[in-house]
């Protein structure tokens, strides 16, 4: 993203004149934005050191005593540590894989439509993306509620199947959460891939057809190579978020139900519960510390690898 910057700087460097005063008004304009970044983004980075403190709100955060790696010890003594890391990473892997495959397939289909229906499709598949996770949790509840839910009452009952208690049966939730995540996000990423596809030069396809390429061969040899950069960029960004999860999806949609924690607890829900519900700041801050650090490391590693393999697709 910052790639063109050095070239520009070189170009304009000799023009520098008039000194600092000339630029002062521009610096003044930046003050509100920079102040916000300092408060909202940079100060909390230093707060990561709280993970090495035994936080006691009575004496204040800054006066709380240091406790070395105790918090991490506490965290890894519980079986939660394994569960939250496993869930966060595994769900993300599935989301990245299925989400991108689905989006590419739909983008290719969208690209074949040259009627007015295209606009209708585009408009409708983006609707789930616009909904808050709160409303999504209501939609899920309307379908899954044990007593009133659409699935139990209108699908299972006529089939003679006993109602299922969805909100207390963990085995269904990996599928439910993956489904909801795909449902909410596929429109957005499909449109992204679609935007790349409509930029593809039509003569590539014409040439392929003259060479006798079938539909499948056109996709394989023209469409997919054209999408390569977009795919890599989106996947790297997603990998950089590998240790992060959609808090609302894992907290609100399963309605914070303890019976489901085995399959719904992620780093983000764990950190939230520890911090604000269970008053267990120590473990919570240790988990948060690992999340920030591992997330950062992963972005850097992925980017270095990408820069070696395919420099055009690297983020920075």
């Amino acid at each position: 993203m910052a790639k063109q910057a050095p070239a520009n700087a070189l170009k304009t460097a000799p023009k520098k004149q008039g000194g600092f005063a000339k630029w002062l008004p521009l610096y003044v304009l930046m003050i509100p934005g920079l102040a916000y970044l300092v408060i909202n983004n940079y100060l909390p980075m230093f707060g990561l050191t709280f993970a090495f403190k035994k936080i006691n709100y009575n004496v204040g955060v800054f006066n709380s005593p240091w406790c070395g790696l105790d918090n991490f010890g506490f965290l890894f003594k519980t079986k939660d540590a394994f569960i939250i890391f496993r869930n966060t990473i595994c769900y993300n892997l599935v989301f990245i894989l299925l989400g991108n495959v689905l989006a590419i397939v739909i983008a290719i289909m969208l690209e074949q439509i040259r009627t007015k229906a295209l606009k209708v499709y585009q408009t409708c598949i983006l609707i789930p993306y616009l909904l808050s996770i709160t409303v999504v949790s209501y939609l899920a509840f309307a379908f899954l509620s044990t007593d009133n839910g659409f699935i139990n009452n209108s699908i299972l009952a006529p089939l003679g199947v006993e109602p299922i208690s969805w909100y207390s049966t963990p085995k269904y939730w990996p599928f439910i959460l993956v489904f909801i995540n795909l449902w909410k996000g596929f429109g957005y990423s499909s449109i992204l891939y679609f935007a790349t596809l409509i930029g593809v030069d039509g003569s590539y396809y014409e040439a392929a057809v003259i060479d006798g390429a079938s539909t499948w061969q056109q996709i394989k040899y023209v469409t997919l190579p054209c999408l390569k950069t977009t795919i890599i960029t989106l996947v790297i960004m997603a990998i950089g978020r590998m240790f992060y999860s959609d808090f609302g999806l894992f907290y609100q949609v399963p309605m914070n139900n303890g019976m489901l924690f085995d399959v719904t607890n992620t780093i983000d829900t764990y950190v939230y519960r520890g911090l604000l519900q269970l008053n267990d700041v120590g473990r919570s801050s240790a988990a948060g510390f690992l999340q920030s650090l591992l997330g950062f490391t992963l972005v850097m590693i992925t980017n270095v690898i990408t820069r070696k393999v395919d420099p055009d697709s690297a983020l920075f």
């Binding site: 304009l29 930046m30 709280f50 290719i108 439509i113 996770i133 409303v135 009133n148 839910g149 996709i219």
Partner: protein, 297 residues
Amino acid sequence: MITSSKAAKIIPNVVLVILTLLCVIPLLLLLMASITDEQTLTMNGYSFFPAKFSAASYQYIFKASQTVFRAYGVTFFVTIIGTACNVLMTVLLAYPLARPGLPARNVIAFLVFFTMLFNGGLVPTYIMYSQVFHIRDTIFALLIPTFLMSPFNVILMRNYFKTNIPDAIIEAAKLDGASELKTLIEVVLPMSTPIIGTVGLMAGLAYWNDWTNGLYYIVKRTDLYSIQNVLTNMLNNIQFLKSSAQQLQGVNLEMGAIPSVGVRMAIAVVAVIPVMVVYPFIQKSFVKGIVIGGVKG
């Protein structure tokens, strides 16, 4: 465009019609549930074709429920003020960063970019906002954390300025004696409506849909709940009552404390309506925004 046989062209249409329905139908169920008669709901559950309709839920919201009205007001206030501040701060930070020759420009741009790679996470952020800045239980709790400015949007806008506003135009304005601020307002901004629209839309949607700030920072002042907080709170109360009812069998719970099933669905509909009303008008720029934002700047 991929060339394929006639038969192969039917498949995309069929698939997309199914997907379109899949996206719209859940909202239809929500709408139907909100206008179904309460007794019918309890007996038959949520259905697309309820046996008996009733507007009682909406009457309840409009007449009896102070909570919903208040929360609606709070949400509108926060969305409008928050979006305005967000756009303003984004423009003011992005514009100087796009000006060639500004000393330390690349250092500052990097500092903005870096916040996208690394962050402190919830624990330090929460402790700082609640223990140092004391914004808990104030309206600032809904406005300030996380959503006031997005570093991603700053970089997006800076790249837009860099590629779409020629330096010559800015130099000309300055030769005419215009100040930096005047140049920005009278020359640069009129040329930048697409990106300003995009950033505004993203910020507005984020504010309207946010429920996390209320969850973290609004503890006692439930009158400051946004509409999303009212919704989450209701759903969680029901769950809580249900699980305690299972544990304490026979204990008579005051069910009057939570609104009926239909009312809950009606409030969810009310929370979605503004988004759905605005969406058709902004659909084009929204899609454009996704494209600008997603493809590397």
